[in-house]
């Protein structure tokens, strides 16, 4: 009797906690809440990565500056890359996917809600784990690519305290260290290995969940060929993750074995090969680049049609060019390795595949521009970001195609030219798309709209800031400035361009601050009666309340075309009346 009542009380207590504001977020398996958690976590890491970027540009604003020690600089530039890739862009894209995919395909939730929660919490703790490395002064410090053998150590390296030795003993130790490959006896690479594997499991379960959800839970009539393009791109991204991540896992575990179990996979002196690392890493690393940009393609392909008031131009070509990019992305990895001394014929092969992958990318850009043609364009903030994306990503595509010109690549690889390229792709591309997406789907998620004027000011600050920051880097690379340097000498023609890049960051910071102010303002405003479909959109996520009820739809809708909401609003010119299938 007594035992029973305690048990009952216990259960009630737990239920109230689960129902409490905080508890409901911690214990949730609702894809919408997890989506919001993913996006907000990603945004917090975006701020952290942005602070790191600002420190980098502060240090590089003038030649021979001493704001950061070389060791601190190395940790910060490494964490900037890791944060922006693994803790900002990937989680944010996963967050939008989580929130939107079930709504867009007319499902009630993801296929595996608990797995979904596991994925989020692995990201959360993986991120905290990575950042905890700063507390130990051991943040990863060998670049996001962490090339062996710079990251190498053998078990023998960890036992001797170098600082306490005499000079002669130090010299002896240094020689002996070469044999042991003690290049990173600190824990920095271990944080990298374990942190990335935690995040890798998070991405993997998320990807599997997306694949099953998209293939099994679509509403009646939602054929593969009627799925919104964001769903298409999320599906392709998920397949890329499933096939690319194992390579990273293998690479990092072999490094872990070298470091702690005494194997020699990457140690040339003991019969291993440092290039093994590069092949394994870039077999993951190049698909990874498309993992970061394909969901952005999806977002743009949702936003442009809605604000142009017409369907996407060439749906099939946009979708299947994504598939082509997915397949080709596994065949281009060695274009990161044109300088490692591969046979010329092998290099020519990878130059050819890289040329091939530029074609579907070009096709997408043409289709986006053609989507605008003949439309009735409404320039709300999401549309500004989407059109800005086209122009900026175009630059990122062109300077990327330039890098496939191998003799030119011999010169500019590992220089600031490549830094310019990746930032036009990832800032001009992914970040512009993410902010477009935030402004577009914010009303869906929170039932209120971000301020348009502030949004437009932010867009222009971003556009100007990113060009002032990253365009000079092309010239720096051409003028011979290698990347990943904690400082540089004066009088090489690099000073003015570096200063310009650093000033550009100030403009970007202003943009981010305006966005933060916009967020605060919007959440402070008490509930506004906002329409469920403020943008006059086409896809199913807008066919329910904003924000949607826990079950998403009262009744699962039946789909007859690619634009179910357009059909509902325009029964006389519904797509399914004219669509040729």
């Amino acid at each position: 009797m007594a035992v029973g009542s305690i048990a009952t009380r216990g259960r009630t207590a737990r239920q109230t906690w689960k129902q409490s504001k905080f508890g409901s977020w911690v214990t949730t398996t609702d894809h919408k809440k997890l989506g919001i958690l993913y996006v907000s976590t990603g945004f917090i890491f975006f701020l952290a990565g942005g602070i790191e970027a600002s420190l980098i540009r502060w240090q590089l604003s003038t030649p021979n500056a001493g704001h950061l020690s070389p060791e601190a600089y190395d940790q910060i530039f490494t964490m900037h890359g890791l944060t922006m890739i693994f803790l900002f862009v990937m989680p944010t894209m996963a967050g939008f996917g989580n929130y939107l995919v079930p709504l867009m395909i007319g499902a009630r939730d993801m296929a595996f809600p608990r797995l979904n929660a596991l994925g989020y919490w692995l990201l959360f703790f993986g991120g905290i784990f990575m950042y905890a490395s700063f507390i130990f002064g051991s943040a990863p410090n060998a670049g996001w690519f962490s090339y062996a053998p710079l990251t190498e150590a053998s078990p023998g390296c960890f036992t001797q305290g170098v600082a306490a030795m005499s000079a002669q003993a130090q010299a002896q130790f240094a020689t002996q260290n070469l044999q042991l490959s003690c290049f990173s006896p600190g824990q920095n690479p271990d944080f990298w290995i374990i942190g990335l594997n935690l995040l890798g499991i998070s991405s993997l379960v998320g990807a599997l969940n997306f694949i099953v959800t998209i293939l099994r839970l679509r509403a009646p009539g939602m054929t593969i060929n009627r799925m919104p393009l964001f769903v298409w791109m999320t599906m392709i991204t998920s397949f890329l993750l499933v096939f690319a991540l194992p390579s990273l896992t293998v690479a990092s575990f072999l490094l872990l074995f070298d470091r702690h179990l005494g194997t020699h996979f990457y140690q040339a002196g003991a019969g291993g090969d440092p290039l093994l690392w590069q092949h394994l890493f870039w077999s993951f690393g190049h698909p990874e680049v498309y993992i970061l940009i394909l969901p952005a393609f999806g977002m743009i392909s949702e936003i442009l049609p809605v604000f142009s008031g017409k369907p996407i131009f060439g749906y099939t070509f946009v979708a299947w060019s994504g598939v082509a990019i997915g397949f080709l992305s596994f065949t281009v990895w060695a274009h990161h390795m044109f300088a490692v001394g591969l046979p010329t014929v092998a290099q020519a092969f990878f130059a050819s595949t890289t040329t091939l992958i530029a074609i579907p990318t070009a096709v997408k850009i043409f289709n986006w521009v053609a989507t605008l043609y003949g439309g009735k364009l409404r320039f709300h903030t999401p549309m500004l970001f989407a059109t800005g994306f086209i122009a900026m990503f175009l630059i990122g595509g062109l300077n990327g195609a330039a890098l496939a010109v191998v003799p030119f690549d011999y010169q500019v690889t590992d220089t600031y030219f490549v830094v310019a390229h990746i930032h036009y792709v990832l800032f001009g591309g992914s970040v512009m798309a993410i902010f477009g997406g935030i402004f577009y789907w914010f009303p869906k998620m929170f039932g209120r709209q971000l301020n348009e004027t502030l949004g437009k000011i932010q867009f222009w600050l971003f556009l100007i800031g990113l060009n002032l920051t990253f365009f000079p880097m092309h010239i720096l690379g051409i003028l011979g400035m290698p990347r990943r340097q904690y400082t540089y000498p004066p009088n090489l023609g690099w000073d003015g361009l570096n200063l310009a890049a650093s000033i550009g960051v100030l403009i970007l910071i202003a943009g981010v601050l305006i966005f933060l102010w916009n967020l605060v303002r919007t959440f402070m405003k008490s509930g506004v009666g906002m329409a469920d479909d403020p943008w006059d959109a086409f896809t199913l996520e807008w066919a329910t309340a904003s924000p949607p009820p826990p079950e998403n739809f009262k009744t699962i809708p039946t789909v007859r075309s690619r634009r179910p909401l357009w059909d509902m609003k325009h029964p006389d010119k519904a797509d399914w009346l004219t669509e040729g299938h």
Binding site: P70, E71, Y147, A163, A174, T175, A268, P274, F313, G314, Y315, F317, A339, G341, T344, A348, A351, S352, T355, A362, V363, F366, V369, A370, L372, G374, G375, K376, F379, T387, L394, A402, V405, V406, P407, F408, Y410, Q411, T413, D414, L463, N467, F471, P472, I475, I478, L479, G480, P482, R484, Q485, Y486, Y488, N491, G493, W494, G496, L497, K573, E579
Partner: protein
């Protein structure tokens, strides 16, 4: 619209400023890949001009189309309803085929140039083993497969000579790059990479114009930023006399001079643990620091960080960890972790000795 054109004007001004600063900075001596001094860099620069040209045309065309659409189809009072156009098969094929042809045209020139720069036009005139250390470059001049002499951070070669380089590392991966002479090749432990270059331009009036800056381009640890070197191109006869000089053992300082005191410091302070001087220390290979036999003849010290002056050398010996934190060279100022406590007089003597090693 007003706001927009203003923004565009500001962006235009910023761009103008960028170009202006690029032009102005041309007064500085940049190791620019567009100022080639030999056939490899020349071919690579042609490729650069080709891709810039094509990229500029494509960018202008696509952006023009984008801006046209933005202006022409902007929603305004009385604007026509959007046409519910799904796509156009023929257009899709055109804009798949056109970039394909363009890209494969570029690929043709790419592959042609790759093979062009892969092998030298004639056998090598000189061969140098380039050894990447953390964080300095050692140049081991070879004759009939044997070491002739070694030097550091300074590669000399005669004008028009084909220089063959064997790239060696026993530590981490480095990348050897002379922007005005050749693109980079990585220096990877366990891989016997090779590269070559040839300097064809030569200014007989100003030897400064025949010195090219090079750098390590692959992140190789804490002091990756300070792993520079120079390439000195000389006439054949100047080069020959440089070689003759480099093959001599070290000069012996006059008895009782400050340099002689410096030699003593060199032998007693532990310098020999890491540095060799031919004729002074036993001939060993694979030491930690550079061979100092002709130290005084070099233009740069400390892995290319400092020019070789007595003041700089004093700082380097006295407090290397301040000049280049993390380097293997310890301090000799008695501070915590330093390898010795030399008086300023002793360091000055050592500096005098090293600078006398011409």
């Amino acid at each position: 619209m007003r706001f927009r054109s203003k923004v565009r004007r500001i962006a235009g001004l910023a761009l103008l400023g960028l170009v202006a600063s690029a032009v102005l900075s041309a007064c500085d001596k940049s190791p620019s890949i567009l100022q080639p001094a030999g056939p490899i860099a020349q071919n690579e620069a042609y490729m650069a001009y080709m891709v810039f040209g094509v990229a500029a045309v494509v960018f202008v065309l696509v952006t023009a189309a984008l801006i046209y659409c933005i202006i022409r189809f902007r929603d305004r009072p009385g604007a026509a309803e959007a046409r519910q156009l799904q796509g156009n098969q023929r257009l899709e094929i055109i804009w798949t085929v056109v970039p394909t042809l363009l890209l494969f045209g570029i690929l043709f020139f790419t592959i042609r140039t790759m093979f062009l720069v892969a092998t030298p036009p004639s056998p090598a005139n000189i061969t140098v083993n380039v050894i990447g250390h953390q964080w300095w470059w050692e140049f081991d001049y070879q004759q009939n497969g044997k070491t002739q002499f070694v030097t550091a951070d300074e590669l000399h070669a005669p004008v028009n000579a084909i220089v063959h380089l064997n790239l060696i590392s026993d530590n981490v991966i480095h990348s050897f790059w002379i922007p005005q002479l050749t693109g980079k090749t990585d220096v990877i432990p366990g891989h016997n990479n090779t590269m070559w270059f040839q300097a064809t331009s030569f200014d007989p009036n100003n030897p400064d114009n025949n010195v090219y800056r090079g750098a390590c381009a692959e992140f190789c640890g804490t002091q990756h930023a300070h792993m520079d070197f120079i390439v000195v191109i000389q006439t054949q006869s100047d080069y020959n006399s440089w070689v003759t000089q480099q093959m001599q053992p070290a000069a012996t300082p006059a008895a009782g001079s400050q340099a002689a005191a410096g030699l003593k410091v060199f032998q007693t302070a532990g310098c020999e643990g890491c540095h060799a001087i031919n004729g002074v220390t036993p001939p060993v290979k694979g030491l930690i620091g550079p061979n100092l036999t002709h130290f005084g003849s070099r233009q740069l010290i400390a892995g290319g960080v400092l020019s070789n002056t007595a003041d700089n050398l004093f700082q380097w010996v006295y407090q290397a960890q301040t000049v280049k934190p993390g380097v293997d060279m310890p301090d000799f100022n008695g501070s915590a972790g330093s390898a010795g406590n030399l008086s300023q007089d002793q360091v000055n003597a050592l500096v005098a000795y090293l600078e006398s090693l011409q």
